[in-house]
Protein backbone atom coordinates (compact mmCIF):
# COMPACT_ATOMS: atom_id res chain seq x y z
CA UNK A 1 0.00 0.00 0.00
CA UNK A 2 1.25 3.44 -0.78
CA UNK A 3 -0.13 6.93 -0.84
CA UNK A 4 -1.69 8.40 -3.96
CA UNK A 5 -3.99 11.31 -4.62
CA UNK A 6 -7.61 11.11 -5.70
CA UNK A 7 -8.93 13.81 -7.99
CA UNK A 8 -12.69 14.26 -8.23
CA UNK A 9 -14.15 16.56 -10.84
CA UNK A 10 -17.84 17.29 -11.39
CA UNK A 11 -18.52 19.21 -14.56
CA UNK A 12 -20.90 19.53 -17.43
CA UNK A 13 -20.71 16.60 -19.82
CA UNK A 14 -19.81 18.99 -22.62
CA UNK A 15 -16.49 19.68 -21.02
CA UNK A 16 -15.65 16.02 -20.51
CA UNK A 17 -13.30 15.61 -23.43
CA UNK A 18 -11.48 18.84 -22.63
CA UNK A 19 -10.98 17.78 -19.03
CA UNK A 20 -9.75 14.32 -19.96
CA UNK A 21 -7.32 15.93 -22.39
CA UNK A 22 -6.19 18.23 -19.61
CA UNK A 23 -5.57 15.27 -17.29
CA UNK A 24 -3.74 13.47 -20.04
CA UNK A 25 -1.45 16.41 -20.70
CA UNK A 26 -0.74 16.62 -17.00
CA UNK A 27 0.42 13.03 -17.15
CA UNK A 28 -2.60 11.40 -15.56
CA UNK A 29 -3.67 8.74 -18.02
CA UNK A 30 -6.04 6.64 -15.93
CA UNK A 31 -9.54 7.78 -15.08
CA UNK A 32 -13.10 6.63 -14.56
CA UNK A 33 -16.15 8.54 -15.69
CA UNK A 34 -19.68 8.31 -14.35
CA UNK A 35 -22.33 9.92 -16.53
CA UNK A 36 -25.85 11.15 -15.89
CA UNK A 37 -24.98 12.92 -12.69
CA UNK A 38 -27.50 15.54 -11.72
CA UNK A 39 -26.76 18.29 -9.30
CA UNK A 40 -26.85 21.85 -8.20
CA UNK A 41 -23.95 24.22 -8.09
CA UNK A 42 -23.14 27.21 -5.97
CA UNK A 43 -20.87 30.06 -6.88
CA UNK A 44 -19.64 32.76 -4.51
CA UNK A 45 -22.50 34.11 -2.44
CA UNK A 46 -25.38 33.96 -4.85
CA UNK A 47 -27.22 30.75 -5.47
CA UNK A 48 -27.45 29.93 -9.12
CA UNK A 49 -29.54 27.02 -10.19
CA UNK A 50 -28.14 25.62 -13.40
CA UNK A 51 -29.57 22.16 -13.42
CA UNK A 52 -29.96 22.17 -17.17
CA UNK A 53 -32.16 19.22 -17.66
CA UNK A 54 -30.62 18.12 -20.89
CA UNK A 55 -27.08 19.08 -20.16
CA UNK A 56 -26.17 16.60 -17.51
CA UNK A 57 -23.01 16.48 -15.46
CA UNK A 58 -20.25 13.93 -15.35
CA UNK A 59 -18.30 12.77 -12.34
CA UNK A 60 -14.66 12.10 -13.13
CA UNK A 61 -12.39 10.19 -10.80
CA UNK A 62 -8.65 9.95 -11.35
CA UNK A 63 -6.05 8.50 -9.05
CA UNK A 64 -2.52 9.81 -9.50
CA UNK A 65 0.88 10.27 -7.92
CA UNK A 66 1.16 13.14 -5.42
CA UNK A 67 3.70 14.92 -7.63
CA UNK A 68 1.22 15.01 -10.51
CA UNK A 69 -1.20 17.21 -8.61
CA UNK A 70 0.54 20.48 -9.51
CA UNK A 71 0.45 19.99 -13.28
CA UNK A 72 -3.13 18.72 -13.03
CA UNK A 73 -4.26 21.87 -11.28
CA UNK A 74 -2.47 24.00 -13.85
CA UNK A 75 -4.29 22.22 -16.65
CA UNK A 76 -7.71 21.94 -15.06
CA UNK A 77 -8.15 25.30 -13.36
CA UNK A 78 -8.50 27.33 -16.59
CA UNK A 79 -11.23 24.97 -17.71
CA UNK A 80 -13.08 25.30 -14.42
CA UNK A 81 -12.66 29.07 -14.57
CA UNK A 82 -14.13 29.16 -17.99
CA UNK A 83 -16.93 26.63 -17.83
CA UNK A 84 -17.63 26.07 -14.16
CA UNK A 85 -17.44 22.73 -12.42
CA UNK A 86 -15.76 21.65 -9.23
CA UNK A 87 -12.52 19.85 -8.47
CA UNK A 88 -11.45 18.25 -5.21
CA UNK A 89 -8.37 16.36 -4.12
CA UNK A 90 -7.88 13.88 -1.32
CA UNK A 91 -5.48 11.24 0.00
CA UNK A 92 -6.02 7.55 -0.57
CA UNK A 93 -3.94 4.39 -0.27
CA UNK A 94 -3.52 2.30 -3.38
CA UNK A 95 -3.64 -1.48 -3.22
CA UNK A 96 -0.96 -2.39 -5.68
CA UNK A 97 -1.59 -5.30 -7.94
CA UNK A 98 0.41 -6.91 -10.70
CA UNK A 99 -2.01 -7.57 -13.49
CA UNK A 100 -1.01 -10.64 -15.42
CA UNK A 101 -2.28 -9.42 -18.78
CA UNK A 102 0.93 -9.19 -20.72
CA UNK A 103 1.48 -5.63 -21.82
CA UNK A 104 1.77 -5.48 -25.56
Amino acid sequence: MHLVKKIEIIANSFELSKILDGLDHAGVHGHAVIRNVSGKGLRGDSTEDLDMTMLDNVYIIAFCMPEQIKPVIEHIRPLLNKFGGTCYISDVMEIRSVKCIASL
Binding site: F14, E48, D49, L50, M52, M54, L55, K82, F83
Partner: protein, 323 residues
Protein backbone atom coordinates in the same frame (compact mmCIF):
# COMPACT_ATOMS: atom_id res chain seq x y z
CA UNK B 1 -62.25 29.73 -36.29
CA UNK B 2 -59.02 30.33 -34.48
CA UNK B 3 -60.44 28.99 -31.25
CA UNK B 4 -61.78 25.84 -32.89
CA UNK B 5 -58.35 25.21 -34.39
CA UNK B 6 -56.77 25.61 -30.97
CA UNK B 7 -59.27 23.21 -29.47
CA UNK B 8 -58.78 20.63 -32.20
CA UNK B 9 -55.03 20.98 -31.69
CA UNK B 10 -55.29 20.67 -27.94
CA UNK B 11 -57.55 17.62 -28.10
CA UNK B 12 -54.75 15.61 -29.68
CA UNK B 13 -52.91 12.96 -27.69
CA UNK B 14 -49.45 14.56 -28.01
CA UNK B 15 -50.58 17.94 -26.67
CA UNK B 16 -52.69 16.36 -23.96
CA UNK B 17 -49.76 14.23 -22.82
CA UNK B 18 -47.65 17.37 -22.75
CA UNK B 19 -50.21 18.85 -20.35
CA UNK B 20 -50.20 15.62 -18.37
CA UNK B 21 -46.43 15.95 -17.94
CA UNK B 22 -46.75 19.55 -16.78
CA UNK B 23 -49.53 18.56 -14.39
CA UNK B 24 -47.37 15.81 -12.92
CA UNK B 25 -44.76 18.37 -11.90
CA UNK B 26 -47.31 20.87 -10.63
CA UNK B 27 -49.09 18.34 -8.40
CA UNK B 28 -45.69 16.90 -7.38
CA UNK B 29 -46.33 13.39 -8.69
CA UNK B 30 -43.15 11.33 -8.89
CA UNK B 31 -43.76 10.51 -12.55
CA UNK B 32 -40.55 10.61 -14.54
CA UNK B 33 -39.27 9.24 -17.81
CA UNK B 34 -35.95 7.64 -16.87
CA UNK B 35 -32.71 9.06 -18.18
CA UNK B 36 -31.79 7.77 -21.64
CA UNK B 37 -35.35 7.17 -22.83
CA UNK B 38 -36.08 10.77 -23.92
CA UNK B 39 -32.71 10.79 -25.68
CA UNK B 40 -33.60 7.55 -27.48
CA UNK B 41 -36.96 8.98 -28.50
CA UNK B 42 -35.41 12.16 -29.83
CA UNK B 43 -32.88 10.16 -31.86
CA UNK B 44 -35.78 8.10 -33.21
CA UNK B 45 -37.78 11.18 -34.14
CA UNK B 46 -34.82 12.82 -35.89
CA UNK B 47 -33.96 9.65 -37.76
CA UNK B 48 -37.56 9.11 -38.85
CA UNK B 49 -38.26 12.66 -39.93
CA UNK B 50 -34.92 12.94 -41.71
CA UNK B 51 -35.35 9.64 -43.51
CA UNK B 52 -38.90 10.47 -44.59
CA UNK B 53 -37.78 13.89 -45.81
CA UNK B 54 -35.04 12.30 -47.89
CA UNK B 55 -37.36 9.76 -49.46
CA UNK B 56 -39.77 12.53 -50.42
CA UNK B 57 -37.05 14.85 -51.59
CA UNK B 58 -35.95 12.27 -54.12
CA UNK B 59 -39.53 12.05 -55.35
CA UNK B 60 -39.99 15.79 -55.75
CA UNK B 61 -36.46 16.45 -57.02
CA UNK B 62 -34.53 19.67 -56.48
CA UNK B 63 -36.86 22.14 -58.14
CA UNK B 64 -36.76 25.94 -58.09
CA UNK B 65 -39.35 25.78 -55.31
CA UNK B 66 -36.97 23.74 -53.19
CA UNK B 67 -34.12 26.14 -53.74
CA UNK B 68 -36.24 29.17 -52.96
CA UNK B 69 -37.49 27.56 -49.77
CA UNK B 70 -34.00 26.75 -48.64
CA UNK B 71 -32.79 30.25 -49.38
CA UNK B 72 -35.68 31.69 -47.42
CA UNK B 73 -34.80 29.38 -44.53
CA UNK B 74 -31.19 30.52 -44.49
CA UNK B 75 -32.30 34.14 -44.65
CA UNK B 76 -34.58 33.77 -41.63
CA UNK B 77 -31.91 31.90 -39.69
CA UNK B 78 -29.50 34.83 -40.13
CA UNK B 79 -31.97 37.69 -39.88
CA UNK B 80 -33.77 36.65 -36.69
CA UNK B 81 -30.72 36.54 -34.38
CA UNK B 82 -29.53 39.87 -35.82
CA UNK B 83 -32.66 41.89 -35.20
CA UNK B 84 -33.59 40.25 -31.91
CA UNK B 85 -30.10 40.95 -30.57
CA UNK B 86 -30.75 44.68 -30.69
CA UNK B 87 -34.12 44.30 -29.01
CA UNK B 88 -32.53 42.21 -26.27
CA UNK B 89 -29.66 44.69 -25.78
CA UNK B 90 -32.24 47.18 -24.50
CA UNK B 91 -32.36 45.26 -21.25
CA UNK B 92 -29.53 42.71 -21.23
CA UNK B 93 -25.77 42.70 -21.58
CA UNK B 94 -24.09 41.65 -24.83
CA UNK B 95 -23.40 38.07 -23.75
CA UNK B 96 -26.94 37.25 -22.70
CA UNK B 97 -28.44 39.15 -25.62
CA UNK B 98 -26.31 37.28 -28.16
CA UNK B 99 -27.01 33.90 -26.59
CA UNK B 100 -30.77 34.46 -26.47
CA UNK B 101 -30.77 35.87 -30.00
CA UNK B 102 -28.98 32.75 -31.24
CA UNK B 103 -31.48 30.56 -29.39
CA UNK B 104 -34.42 32.21 -31.16
CA UNK B 105 -32.67 32.29 -34.52
CA UNK B 106 -32.30 28.52 -34.42
CA UNK B 107 -35.15 26.03 -34.38
CA UNK B 108 -36.79 23.33 -32.30
CA UNK B 109 -37.13 20.04 -34.16
CA UNK B 110 -39.84 18.80 -31.80
CA UNK B 111 -42.01 21.83 -32.51
CA UNK B 112 -41.57 21.14 -36.23
CA UNK B 113 -42.45 17.48 -35.75
CA UNK B 114 -45.52 18.35 -33.69
CA UNK B 115 -46.64 20.75 -36.42
CA UNK B 116 -46.13 18.12 -39.11
CA UNK B 117 -48.17 15.61 -37.08
CA UNK B 118 -50.88 18.27 -36.79
CA UNK B 119 -50.84 18.79 -40.57
CA UNK B 120 -51.06 15.05 -41.19
CA UNK B 121 -54.13 14.89 -39.03
CA UNK B 122 -55.79 17.79 -40.80
CA UNK B 123 -54.97 16.06 -44.06
CA UNK B 124 -52.91 19.02 -45.30
CA UNK B 125 -49.97 18.12 -47.51
CA UNK B 126 -46.42 19.35 -46.99
CA UNK B 127 -43.18 18.55 -48.73
CA UNK B 128 -40.28 16.40 -47.64
CA UNK B 129 -37.76 19.10 -48.41
CA UNK B 130 -39.03 21.12 -45.45
CA UNK B 131 -36.86 18.75 -43.43
CA UNK B 132 -33.87 20.09 -45.33
CA UNK B 133 -34.94 23.60 -44.31
CA UNK B 134 -35.20 22.37 -40.73
CA UNK B 135 -31.66 21.01 -40.85
CA UNK B 136 -30.26 24.14 -42.45
CA UNK B 137 -31.88 26.52 -39.98
CA UNK B 138 -30.32 24.94 -36.93
CA UNK B 139 -26.74 26.11 -37.30
CA UNK B 140 -26.45 29.64 -38.78
CA UNK B 141 -27.76 31.36 -35.67
CA UNK B 142 -24.89 29.91 -33.64
CA UNK B 143 -22.40 31.57 -35.96
CA UNK B 144 -24.30 34.87 -36.03
CA UNK B 145 -24.47 34.86 -32.24
CA UNK B 146 -20.73 34.45 -31.96
CA UNK B 147 -20.01 37.17 -34.48
CA UNK B 148 -22.24 39.49 -32.47
CA UNK B 149 -20.35 38.73 -29.27
CA UNK B 150 -17.06 39.32 -31.02
CA UNK B 151 -18.20 42.61 -32.51
CA UNK B 152 -19.81 44.11 -29.45
CA UNK B 153 -17.53 43.16 -26.59
CA UNK B 154 -14.18 44.64 -25.62
CA UNK B 155 -12.29 41.36 -25.56
CA UNK B 156 -12.79 40.90 -29.28
CA UNK B 157 -9.37 39.46 -29.83
CA UNK B 158 -8.97 37.09 -26.98
CA UNK B 159 -11.99 34.77 -26.93
CA UNK B 160 -9.99 31.62 -26.63
CA UNK B 161 -11.95 29.27 -28.81
CA UNK B 162 -11.05 28.15 -32.26
CA UNK B 163 -13.50 28.81 -35.03
CA UNK B 164 -13.07 25.23 -36.18
CA UNK B 165 -14.46 24.08 -32.87
CA UNK B 166 -17.42 26.39 -33.19
CA UNK B 167 -18.17 25.28 -36.73
CA UNK B 168 -17.91 21.67 -35.61
CA UNK B 169 -20.35 22.36 -32.80
CA UNK B 170 -22.68 24.19 -35.18
CA UNK B 171 -22.73 21.72 -38.03
CA UNK B 172 -21.78 18.38 -36.49
CA UNK B 173 -23.78 18.34 -33.28
CA UNK B 174 -25.70 15.11 -32.97
CA UNK B 175 -29.12 16.42 -33.99
CA UNK B 176 -27.97 18.16 -37.17
CA UNK B 177 -25.73 15.22 -38.00
CA UNK B 178 -28.39 12.55 -37.55
CA UNK B 179 -31.02 14.61 -39.33
CA UNK B 180 -28.84 15.32 -42.36
CA UNK B 181 -27.45 11.79 -42.38
CA UNK B 182 -30.90 10.21 -42.31
CA UNK B 183 -32.05 12.59 -45.02
CA UNK B 184 -29.16 11.55 -47.24
CA UNK B 185 -29.88 7.88 -46.58
CA UNK B 186 -33.51 8.55 -47.48
CA UNK B 187 -32.34 10.11 -50.74
CA UNK B 188 -30.02 7.18 -51.47
CA UNK B 189 -32.45 4.37 -50.71
CA UNK B 190 -35.61 6.09 -51.92
CA UNK B 191 -38.86 4.20 -52.33
CA UNK B 192 -37.23 0.85 -51.65
CA UNK B 193 -35.73 1.97 -48.36
CA UNK B 194 -39.06 3.44 -47.39
CA UNK B 195 -40.80 0.12 -47.86
CA UNK B 196 -38.49 -1.75 -45.54
CA UNK B 197 -37.97 0.93 -42.92
CA UNK B 198 -41.37 2.61 -42.67
CA UNK B 199 -42.98 -0.04 -40.44
CA UNK B 200 -40.47 1.22 -37.88
CA UNK B 201 -40.08 4.92 -38.72
CA UNK B 202 -43.70 5.54 -39.59
CA UNK B 203 -46.11 3.44 -37.60
CA UNK B 204 -44.61 4.17 -34.19
CA UNK B 205 -43.90 7.81 -34.99
CA UNK B 206 -47.01 9.37 -33.56
CA UNK B 207 -46.82 7.26 -30.44
CA UNK B 208 -43.18 8.08 -29.78
CA UNK B 209 -43.93 11.77 -30.30
CA UNK B 210 -46.72 11.48 -27.74
CA UNK B 211 -44.45 9.79 -25.22
CA UNK B 212 -41.72 12.33 -25.88
CA UNK B 213 -44.07 15.26 -25.34
CA UNK B 214 -45.06 13.72 -22.01
CA UNK B 215 -41.43 14.07 -21.04
CA UNK B 216 -41.19 17.57 -22.53
CA UNK B 217 -44.11 18.54 -20.32
CA UNK B 218 -42.20 17.34 -17.27
CA UNK B 219 -39.07 19.19 -18.35
CA UNK B 220 -40.84 22.42 -19.26
CA UNK B 221 -42.78 22.52 -16.00
CA UNK B 222 -39.61 21.97 -13.96
CA UNK B 223 -38.23 25.05 -15.72
CA UNK B 224 -41.22 27.20 -14.84
CA UNK B 225 -39.78 28.28 -11.52
CA UNK B 226 -36.79 29.78 -13.33
CA UNK B 227 -39.12 32.29 -14.90
CA UNK B 228 -39.31 34.30 -11.70
CA UNK B 229 -35.68 35.24 -12.17
CA UNK B 230 -36.22 35.82 -15.86
CA UNK B 231 -38.47 38.80 -15.51
CA UNK B 232 -41.42 40.16 -17.46
CA UNK B 233 -39.31 41.52 -20.31
CA UNK B 234 -37.99 38.11 -21.33
CA UNK B 235 -41.30 36.38 -20.84
CA UNK B 236 -43.04 38.84 -23.16
CA UNK B 237 -40.12 38.47 -25.57
CA UNK B 238 -40.57 34.69 -25.52
CA UNK B 239 -44.19 35.01 -26.62
CA UNK B 240 -44.22 38.07 -28.87
CA UNK B 241 -41.08 37.40 -30.87
CA UNK B 242 -42.22 33.95 -32.00
CA UNK B 243 -45.48 35.49 -33.24
CA UNK B 244 -43.55 38.21 -35.02
CA UNK B 245 -41.12 35.70 -36.53
CA UNK B 246 -43.96 33.48 -37.65
CA UNK B 247 -45.57 36.53 -39.28
CA UNK B 248 -42.38 37.45 -41.13
CA UNK B 249 -42.01 33.78 -42.09
CA UNK B 250 -45.54 33.67 -43.48
CA UNK B 251 -45.04 36.81 -45.56
CA UNK B 252 -41.84 35.37 -46.99
CA UNK B 253 -43.62 32.08 -47.64
CA UNK B 254 -46.46 33.84 -49.44
CA UNK B 255 -43.92 35.85 -51.42
CA UNK B 256 -42.12 32.81 -52.79
CA UNK B 257 -45.37 30.93 -53.26
CA UNK B 258 -45.11 28.07 -50.78
CA UNK B 259 -48.01 25.69 -50.32
CA UNK B 260 -50.09 26.15 -47.18
CA UNK B 261 -48.65 23.09 -45.46
CA UNK B 262 -45.09 24.16 -46.17
CA UNK B 263 -45.87 27.69 -45.07
CA UNK B 264 -47.08 26.45 -41.70
CA UNK B 265 -43.91 24.47 -41.18
CA UNK B 266 -41.83 27.45 -42.23
CA UNK B 267 -43.68 29.72 -39.82
CA UNK B 268 -43.16 27.19 -37.05
CA UNK B 269 -39.46 26.96 -37.81
CA UNK B 270 -39.16 30.74 -37.72
CA UNK B 271 -41.12 30.97 -34.50
CA UNK B 272 -39.42 28.19 -32.62
CA UNK B 273 -36.34 28.47 -30.43
CA UNK B 274 -33.61 25.91 -29.82
CA UNK B 275 -33.27 24.46 -26.33
CA UNK B 276 -30.69 21.78 -27.03
CA UNK B 277 -28.18 22.49 -29.79
CA UNK B 278 -27.80 26.23 -29.30
CA UNK B 279 -27.60 26.14 -25.49
CA UNK B 280 -24.91 23.50 -25.81
CA UNK B 281 -22.94 25.64 -28.26
CA UNK B 282 -23.44 28.81 -26.23
CA UNK B 283 -22.27 27.21 -23.03
CA UNK B 284 -19.11 26.29 -24.82
CA UNK B 285 -18.45 29.52 -26.64
CA UNK B 286 -20.15 32.23 -24.59
CA UNK B 287 -19.82 30.86 -21.06
CA UNK B 288 -20.44 34.38 -19.76
CA UNK B 289 -24.09 34.17 -20.71
CA UNK B 290 -26.52 32.79 -18.16
CA UNK B 291 -27.96 29.45 -19.32
CA UNK B 292 -31.06 29.74 -17.18
CA UNK B 293 -32.08 32.77 -19.26
CA UNK B 294 -31.81 31.21 -22.66
CA UNK B 295 -32.85 27.69 -21.77
CA UNK B 296 -35.83 28.56 -19.62
CA UNK B 297 -37.43 31.05 -21.97
CA UNK B 298 -37.06 28.70 -24.93
CA UNK B 299 -38.21 25.65 -23.02
CA UNK B 300 -40.78 26.85 -20.51
CA UNK B 301 -42.40 29.65 -22.51
CA UNK B 302 -41.79 29.53 -26.24
CA UNK B 303 -42.00 25.76 -26.68
CA UNK B 304 -45.36 25.30 -24.90
CA UNK B 305 -46.68 28.48 -26.49
CA UNK B 306 -45.81 27.26 -29.97
CA UNK B 307 -47.19 23.76 -29.70
CA UNK B 308 -50.38 24.79 -27.92
CA UNK B 309 -51.33 28.22 -29.26
CA UNK B 310 -48.75 28.96 -31.94
CA UNK B 311 -49.36 26.15 -34.40
CA UNK B 312 -53.11 26.74 -34.72
CA UNK B 313 -52.56 30.51 -34.63
CA UNK B 314 -50.12 30.42 -37.53
CA UNK B 315 -52.51 28.15 -39.41
CA UNK B 316 -55.20 30.75 -38.86
CA UNK B 317 -52.84 33.32 -40.33
CA UNK B 318 -52.38 31.08 -43.35
CA UNK B 319 -56.12 30.81 -43.77
CA UNK B 320 -56.27 34.61 -43.84
CA UNK B 321 -53.31 35.15 -46.18
CA UNK B 322 -53.84 32.24 -48.57
CA UNK B 323 -57.58 31.70 -48.28
Amino acid sequence: MDASLIVSNILNPPILFFFLGMTAVLVKSDLEIPAPVPKLFSLYLLLSIGFKGGVELVKSGVTQEVILTILAAMLMACFVPLYTFFILRLKLDTYDAAAIAATYGSISAVTFITASAFLSELGMAFDGYMVAALALMESPAIIVGLILVNLFTADQGDRDFSWSEVLKEAFLNSSVFLLVGSLLIGVLTGEHGWEVLSPFTQSMFYGVLTFFLLDMGLVAARRLKDLQKTGAFLISFAILIPILNAGIGLLLAKLIGMSQGNALLFAVLSASASYIAVPAAMRLTVPEANPSLYVSTALAVTFPFNIIVGIPLYLYGINLLWG
